[in-house]
Symmetry: C2
């Protein structure tokens, strides 16, 4: 059917999946890495840096903004995008809790 049955899962499970889905495309991974590497706010050169068309980059930026991992400030004609550090930290703890569930496990 193509429609994820979110209602049969817990809020936490859906939250983890929604975060992971955003990381599930290399362009969004690359955008985040570039934003961290530049170490200061970045504007429109993501199109040159990544190598996808401008509407495609804009679409990926929206996905990152929707989940709160980046924020954009209007800076003259252009928009300055940067990491939302508070939300990044929150996201990290959610994902780490999931990743670290192996710690007390003695399976095969």
């Amino acid at each position: 059917m193509g429609l994820t049955k979110s209602e049969i899962f817990t809020e936490q499970q859906n939250q983890i999946a929604n975060i992971a889905k955003v990381f599930g495309h290399p362009a969004r991974v690359a955008i985040l890495q570039y934003l961290f590497k530049i170490n200061s706010c970045i504007c429109g050169d993501l199109v040159d840096e990544i190598g996808l068309a401008q509407p495609t980059i804009s679409q990926h930026l929206r996905a990152l903004k929707n989940i709160g991992l980046i924020k954009g400030n209007i800076e003259g004609t252009s928009i300055c995008y940067c990491i939302n550090n508070d939300n990044w930290t929150t996201m990290k703890s959610i994902i780490n809790e999931f990743l670290n569930q192996d710690i007390n496990n003695n399976c095969c």
Copy 2:
């Protein structure tokens, strides 16, 4: 187009995205949590536990197996699925390196 342009990204970026894509569905998150919770190998009751049809569960299990996070051992008529702990540890370090890139960042 619908076709991710993997070739314009680094191997690491694609690897992170491929792992994240597997976590990007709540059913697969739930399956992994259940496998950890049961703390011993689990067989077919995932269908009852999760609440999706058997072919759908089988499809999600295949996705998890393809990326190496779980393994399945034939146990009589049924198949015993469990976490692949070595690969889980490797996966964790790949994801953590990505998540921790904020550590030395002084952006806005």
